[in-house]
């Protein structure tokens, strides 16, 4: 559901206050947290809010009013149909078509006409028609109660059309723009057209929020936790710098051209050569090959993927460091069968032809609900039955998945490693490793996301062959800070020395055991942090494929001893900001990661 920005939130004093103007008079600069580098400019458009019903209006011509309201429903049906046609994902398309079918229901149109006949205006008639089914659905509970949100979404869309307003959700104006929202929900991302959106800016969110991860995956500059955003007028031209975390509002042509030129200059310095306006993100010299420090110390550079569709982008990677299997399970009323799973995994293994693929078993929970698990709501979903803990209740789900992975692996030459999410104890690791080996798979590992697992890394490594640190969740649990909570973003910064200390301990345990320890959180995609992780002893870094060139270049620029020196500085820092500053100051070489990427400017 789209978020409506609340009216002028009481924000922390430091963030929304305009700072020293970087541009000419008339422009103002807002500060947030830059979470995906690059610069872009365009008019600011918000995720449209849910319309509120105006006061009831008298209806002069009930016949015409009824048809107007029914036409609004038809507009919604047509729009959902268009979105279903455009959707790249079959599951998303199916969900959209199911919604269109509801809006297209003839009984709904009849109910709208009846309500108009009884004296209501169009918007109120639509509201009343949906209300009947809303009540029935919510009274029924279970699956139907979950569909109430769908009904509300359809009603809001139809009411908006009837009021002559944009449908709630992500705008699609047909030209490039900067998308603004309070925060982006996973549902919004299905609607987001990367051909139109040039940058993302949000009031809430943090470095590991959905917005940040999405922006990096799409290579869009992004600034989150920018509280002052609510004050900007819709349509204002803004210049977004996802590296420095600034949003410049009201910049004039000269300033936009200057920013575009600066970005172009940086861009021209690298031998990359992708056209400006089509590519953003960390700008770095192109080049493939395995990850190496300047003196040849190997750090495997791997890609995070969700399905075989991501494999082509991961071509430059040495393998896959995180194959999330949730996609296959999302939006399903029952679990995918063995054969379907075998096929999906085999596609990925075959495409990676002989390289390493680290596949993660199902990572679901009340925060990422799957209908067929029938999980009750939990007061604290992040601390509930999620990840490997699901196997306590449904051991057959894990067995089937491991069997499917083993069968898929047999059929291909990929080097398949299997790991479990949300492991807390050596006993859980041992049970998982046993299940993996029983399925005939040679390499079992676990993710380190729970602080207890980080503290007992040595003991975990007696049971498993490798560890993979998920820094996003590890931050959340170490700092007791919800990943969705923008106000706490600075606690979730992967530069926090306490987080780095845990990473150091896990890497040390790996060195002692002679077993690999990787990082697959967003921390691995930060080109300035990558050398530090290598210096701490991490043996592989897995990230969205777009981040690979910048991280590869950052490693190649420094010998291992330099990485270790930077790591020691970061560990000793007082806080995340201090750690970053120390690393930047100590870094004699020009840093390839924090420079602005090529401009995605309308002025360019």
């Amino acid at each position: 559901m789209p978020d409506q920005p609340p009216p002028a939130p009481a924000a922390p004093a430091e963030s929304p206050v305009p700072v020293a103007p970087a541009g000419p008079v008339g422009s103002r600069v807002l500060r947030g947290i830059g979470v995906s580098p690059g610069t872009a400019a365009g008019p600011l458009l918000r995720v449209a809010g849910v319309p509120t019903l105006p006061d009831p209006a008298p209806v002069a011509d009930p016949g015409a009013e009824g048809e107007r309201a029914v036409a609004a429903l038809a507009t919604v049906v047509a729009e959902l149909g268009r979105r279903a046609d455009r959707a790249a994902d079959a599951t998303v398309a199916e969900v959209l078509r199911a919604q269109a079918m509801m809006a297209d229901d003839p009984v709904l149109a009849d109910a709208v006409r009846d309500a108009v006949g009884a004296g209501r205006d169009g918007p109120h008639a639509i509201d009343a028609a949906f209300a009947t089914y809303r009540e029935a659905f919510s009274a029924a509970g279970g699956y139907l109660a979950e569909r109430v949100a769908d009904l509300d979404d359809l009603r809001d869309r139809a009411v908006a059309v009837c009021l002559g307003r944009p449908m709630p959700g992500v705008p699609s104006p047909g030209h490039p723009y900067v998308l603004a929202a309070r925060d982006l929900a996973p549902a919004d991302t299905a609607e987001l057209d990367p051909g139109q959106v040039v940058a993302l800016v949000t009031e809430a969110g943090g470095p590991t929020s959905h917005t940040a991860i999405l922006a990096r995956a799409l290579g869009l500059p992004a600034v989150v936790a920018c509280a002052g955003l609510a004050e900007l007028t819709e349509g204002t031209t803004v210049l977004v710098d996802g590296g420095t975390g600034t949003i410049e509002a009201g910049a004039d042509e000269a300033r936009l051209a200057e920013a575009a030129a600066a970005a172009g200059r940086d861009h021209a310095a690298g031998p990359g050569g992708a056209a400006a306006g089509t590519r953003a993100g960390a700008d770095a010299p192109a080049g493939a090959g395995p990850g190496r420090t300047a003196d040849g110390h190997a750090v495997a550079l791997l890609a995070n993927i969700g399905s075989v569709r991501d494999v082509s982008a991961a071509e430059e990677a040495e393998g896959v460091g995180l194959f999330r299997t949730e996609l296959l399970f999302l939006g399903r009323t029952r679990e995918p069968g063995l054969e379907e799973q075998v096929e999906a995994y085999r596609d990925v293994f075959a495409a990676m032809c002989g390289r390493r693929v680290v596949i993660r078993t199902l990572d679901a929970g009340a925060d990422k609900p799957l209908p067929f698990l029938g999980q009750a709501e939990e007061p604290n979903p992040a601390l509930g039955v999620r990840g490997l803990r699901i196997a306590r209740r449904r051991p057959e789900l894990l067995r089937t998945q491991l069997t499917a992975i083993a069968r898929a692996a047999e059929a291909t030459a990929a080097d398949v490693w299997v790991m479990a999410p949300m492991v807390a104890t050596p006993a859980e690791a041992a049970a998982f490793a046993e299940a993996v080996r029983a399925a005939g798979l040679p390499r079992a590992g676990v993710m380190v996301e729970v602080p207890a697992a980080a503290l007992h890394a040595r003991r975990l490594l007696r049971e498993v062959d490798f560890l993979s640190i998920g820094t996003n969740d590890l931050s959340q649990y170490v700092f007791a800070a919800d990943r969705q909570c923008g106000e706490l973003a600075e606690l979730l910064d992967p530069w926090q020395p306490a987080l780095l200390q845990l990473v150091a301990g896990v890497a040390e345990a790996g060195r002692a055991a002679g077993k690999p320890v990787g990082v697959c959180g967003e921390a691995a995609a930060d080109p300035l942090l990558a050398p530090i992780l290598a210096g701490l002893g991490v043996t592989s870094l897995s990230m969205s494929a777009r981040a690979l060139p910048a991280v590869r270049a950052a490693l190649a620029a420094r010998p291992l001893a330099e990485c270790e020196r930077l790591a020691a500085l970061a560990l000793d820092a007082d806080d995340a900001g201090h750690a970053r500053r120390l690393a930047l100051d100590a870094d004699a070489d020009p840093d390839p990661g924090t420079d602005a990427g090529p401009a995605r400017s309308l002025a360019a």
Binding site: L144, T333, R334
Partner: protein, 94 residues
């Protein structure tokens, strides 16, 4: 009036994809078809909202009725669809 009583065969009940398939098939029949559970009033089988609101699960008995030319054949086809486990027939790429 021609009538059939069938036990819902789909694992997820008359919800989601099975409901959508049934409603689409019902709407395509030459005659209006109604559907009801035990003691409730019949609702149009071509209405997804009404069919969902029945809340029929796997094993629930539902009664479909139709009148007019082609009613028997329509009920035959729809009864067969209701009895099948449509969830088990999901396309592999869904």
């Amino acid at each position: 009036m021609p009538t059939r009583t069938v036990t819902v065969g789909s694992a997820s009940g008359l919800h989601a994809r099975p409901a959508a398939l049934f409603v689409a098939a019902a709407a395509a029949q030459p005659v209006p078809v109604t559907i009801r559970t035990a003691d409730r009033r019949p609702v149009p089988a071509g209405s997804i909202l009404s069919v969902l609101a029945l809340g029929a699960k796997q094993g629930t008995e539902v009664t479909i009725e139709a009148e007019g030319e082609g009613a028997e054949a329509a009920l035959e086809a729809l009864a067969e669809l209701l009895a099948r486990d449509l969830d088990a027939e999901e396309p592999a790429d869904a």
